[in-house]
């Protein structure tokens, strides 16, 4: 095929022209596109900061590697919770109870596996079998807790904000009361679940997180349940009139959120090895909501992406890292976080009312 020089030049110009056009189109139509763009910008800023900080290109790369390892593993629990939250927000709801639920589920897990006085030890189980059983029980408990939220919202017709605000208080206070005289420790080998070193680094939490992102993405994009979630968030009445069992689907959406909390609780306990029942998980609901929103999911429901929630968590993580490296006072970090969240929603495509 022969192409003359002038032809090639015009094509180049055309392409450039359409690239700007495409950029604009994508920005307007795909929430994920703007999230990826924001992450790339953040990465570039991080590179510059690290370069200035390290003084050399080699130093920059090693610092970047460490920084990313930390970003990924330190945000794994909130990241997993954010995936459940993303489903809930796409369905037009919200779940404020996730942080307290993580704490309650963590307490249950510790009660099950504590050496000596734990339930598993009492019935004579130990080792991987006991841990596996305990994890299954905790996940079932998370499912049940989520079902409680979902039942209040679907059958009780409570606004999600109110129902989950109430459950948030209940989970926290009951957990604290019941663990008043309970000073649990956890078996050292249980910690291996998250803390076992692979290649000299703790990367298991990262692997779990990414695996769950993939599974949740498939559930969202490739199952009828995922489509029904979008339908409910988009127009609940139309969803109901389309023969969707809205109450049941909603209950399952919140139950899925509960399961995510259970998984986060397992990773949390295995990584940290203990839990402060007064504070563990507090504020996680806001971190998760922030990640979902920064990831381009509409607060009004109907539009969003699970991968976006993952990237949103990374954006917040990178930002924290940059702020620490630059030396922004700790108290001001949250202000910058707040600004980023507001900005993320400002640039989102909005509907005309």
């Amino acid at each position: 095929m022969k192409v003359s020089v002038s032809d090639m030049e015009t094509k180049k110009i055309e392409k450039q022209h359409t690239m700007i056009g495409k950029f604009r189109d994508n920005w307007g139509n795909s929430a994920l596109f703007s999230t990826i763009f924001a992450l790339v910008v953040m990465l570039l800023i991080q590179c510059i900061v690290m370069y200035v900080n390290a003084g050399s290109l080699g130093g920059m790369f090693s610092k970047m590697g460490m920084a990313w390892l930390n970003i990924l593993r330190n945000n794994a629990y909130q990241g997993v919770i954010a995936l459940g939250m993303c489903f809930i927000i796409i369905s037009g709801g919200i779940d404020l109870s996730v942080g307290s639920m993580l704490c309650a589920l963590g307490a249950i897990l510790m009660y099950l596996i504590a050496p000596g006085n734990g339930l598993m030890a009492k019935i004579g189980l130990s080792g991987p079998l006991a841990y596996g059983l305990a994890i299954i029980i905790v996940i079932a408990a998370g499912f049940l807790f989520g079902q409680i939220n979902g039942t209040l919202i679907s059958y009780g017709k409570l606004p999600p904000f109110i129902a989950t605000l109430g459950m948030m208080k209940i989970f926290r206070s009951v957990t604290q009361q019941l663990t008043k005289h309970f000073n649990p420790t956890i078996p050292a080998d249980f910690k291996l679940i998250a803390s076992m070193k692979i290649g000299g680094q703790v990367i298991l939490p990262i692997l779990y997180w990414v695996l769950i992102v993939v599974i949740m993405h498939i559930i969202f994009t490739r199952t009828a349940f995922g489509r029904q979630t979008i339908a409910i968030g988009s127009n609940e009445r139309a969803a109901k009139l389309s023969g969707i069992n809205v109450n049941k689907v909603k209950r399952n959406i919140y139950a899925l959120g509960g399961v995510m909390c259970a998984i986060a609780a397992v990773i949390y306990i295995a990584r940290i090895g203990s839990m402060d029942f007064a504070n563990a998980g507090s504020g996680y609901e806001m971190d998760a909501i922030a990640a979902v929103i920064v990831g381009g999911t509409a607060m009004s429901g109907g539009r969003g992406s699970l991968v976006g929630a993952f990237l949103g968590m990374l954006i917040i993580g990178v930002m924290n890292n940059i702020l620490n490296t630059v030396g922004v006072p700790t108290f001001l970090c949250d202000a910058v976080k707040g600004l980023i969240i507001i900005f993320a929603v400002l640039v989102q495509k909005k509907e005309n009312v």
């Binding site: 199952t223 127009n235 139309a238």
Partner: protein
């Protein structure tokens, strides 16, 4: 109002309409849905501009560009949906547009005093301090009228004020209207109910297809004459002339009541049959069939039989499983999933069934949709585009597609041609006929008598949730439908 013309696009809604109203007179404005009544009144109320024509008030020409202009000129418009704030008191509602103040605070005493004065004058026994929430529909109507009076209205437009009222409430509003008349206020009364027109009005004006067809004194006419004016003799609607082949009975309702929207409804529809259910606004037909479909969550008495077995639908999912499909009215609020693609909108109903190993079988989804697309002649760009990119008619077809994919036994279509252009309407009609030919029991709910005559084999007319009558073959004409829908008695000799 003289020679008022208005068109929306190529659609002439009003063609040189004249309308007049004297002081101290109640004039009825009549016409079928879409005759142009609302448009005419919206022009008078300053909501819409007229394309041409003149409005004179007390001999002076006036122009209204905004609702405020018309309000200032003394025209009060009471819309069908009342504009009161439930959580405020009566007197606060009365002064909502400009609340009188005393320094920084609201002058409650003045508001209360002036409201009380007006109520005394109108002989209304209401405490101005009552919360509007606690009033029944008729008193709300009366408060709205008083609010218009408070703004010195000399003309009051009432758009179907009685549709949501019970008989004693209607009488209360009527006595209010009579005392207004005595005080020289002119009232324009828009209604479908001819009995009420005969009772309360002095003069009438009938619009049909955007033109004034009759006008005169109510005392010189009767209900039958008015109904004929509204429908028109020359309009002979195309009738349904398909070959019918009925099978077994599919759906039967026996004495179904929810005591709010519908009362003692009994009907049955057979496989291959097209049953029309019609009536005017507030007839309860949507609520009736949403109850059948399990979408209402209200208690009802009576029984529903599907193929002879009694059923009770607790939710729409059960109805879907049982083979009942319901295409709702108001597509935008009730049927469109605006954030989803054409393909997803068209297959959302059937989606849980299209799966392989727990995941959606996309190939099958596309194949099933392609079949409906061809079947219904859906015109669209890319099937992955948002549903909102389509025209109204094509959106409606996609909504229809989602139900057809589930292959229902009973298909309930509520206003299936709402907001659809003429061409697409005909297409939808032929789809309905084809479906009936394939053995589906179809129920068409519509407020357009012409549509019922055009598509249905048989029709049931509702009046305020009661079964006013059943019509078939030659008896099913616009006159009879209008007559029954407006509250006429089936046994009277006025039927033609």
């Amino acid at each position: 109002m003289e020679k008022i013309c208005k068109s929306f696009g190529a659609n002439d809604v009003l063609q040189s309409v004249d309308f007049s109203l004297n002081t101290g007179e109640i004039c009825a404005l009549l016409g079928e849905n879409g005759a142009g009544k609302s448009t005419l009144m919206n022009i008078l109320g300053g909501v819409l501009p007229a394309d041409s024509g003149r409005i004179t008030l007390d001999g002076k020409p006036v122009t209204f560009s905004f609702p405020v202009d018309s309000l200032d000129a003394g025209i009060g418009f009471i819309h069908q949906e009342l504009n009161l704030i439930n959580d405020l008191t009566i007197f606060e509602n009365m002064f909502l547009t400009h609340l009188p103040r005393k320094g920084m605070f609201l002058d409650a005493r003045t508001m209360r005093k002036r409201t009380q004065e007006l109520f005394d004058k109108m002989k209304i026994e209401l405490d101005p301090g009552t919360m509007v929430r606690e009033l029944d529909a008729s008193y709300k109507q009366i408060v709205e009228i008083c609010r218009a009076l408070m703004q010195d209205a000399s003309i009051i437009i009432m758009d179907e004020p009685t549709t949501s009222l019970t008989e004693p409430e209607i009488q209360r509003v009527f006595s209010m209207m009579r005392s207004l008349k005595e005080q020289g206020v002119g009232i324009i009364f828009i209604s479908h109910k001819l009995g009420e027109v005969m009772e309360i009005c002095d003069r009438y004006t009938v619009l049909r297809d955007g033109s004034m067809v009759a006008s005169g004194k109510v005392s010189d006419t009767d209900i039958k004459q008015l109904a004929t004016y509204m429908v028109g003799h020359e309009v002979i609607a195309e009738t349904n002339q398909r070959e019918t082949n009925y099978g077994e009975e599919m759906l039967r309702l026996e004495h179904l009541s929810d005591n709010v929207n519908f009362h003692d409804i009994s009907l049955s529809v057979r496989s291959g049959e097209i049953l029309g259910v019609t009536g005017l606004l507030g007839d309860g037909r949507s609520e009736l069939f949403q109850t059948v479909f399990g979408a209402m969550n209200t208690k009802y008495t009576g029984q529903i039989f599907l193929q002879g077995t009694p059923i009770h639908m607790r939710n729409t999912y059960q109805a879907l499983e049982a083979g009942i499909a319901y295409l709702p009215r108001n597509r935008k609020e009730n049927a469109i999933l605006k954030d989803m693609s054409i393909l997803d909108n068209g297959s959302i109903v059937h989606l849980p069934k299209i799966r392989r190993r727990g995941l959606i079988d996309f190939a099958q989804q596309e194949a099933l949709f392609a079949r409906q697309e061809e079947n219904l002649h859906i015109k669209m760009g890319d099937k992955y585009d948002l549903i909102t990119s389509l025209s109204g008619g094509n959106q409606q077809k996609v909504v229809l597609a989602k139900w057809l994919m589930s292959e229902p036994k009973v298909l309930i279509l509520d206003n299936p041609t709402q907001g659809v252009d003429v061409g697409a309407k005909e297409e939808i009609y032929s789809i309905i006929h084809k479906l009936a030919g394939e053995g589906v029991a179809v129920i068409v709910l519509s407020s357009e008598a012409q549509e019922i005559i055009r598509v249905c084999d048989r029709s049931i007319v509702l009046f305020h949730g009661h079964q006013a009558g059943e019509l078939s073959s030659v008896e099913m004409n616009e006159h009879n439908i209008m007559y029954l829908a407006a509250g006429g008695n089936q046994n009277e000799s006025e039927r033609v």
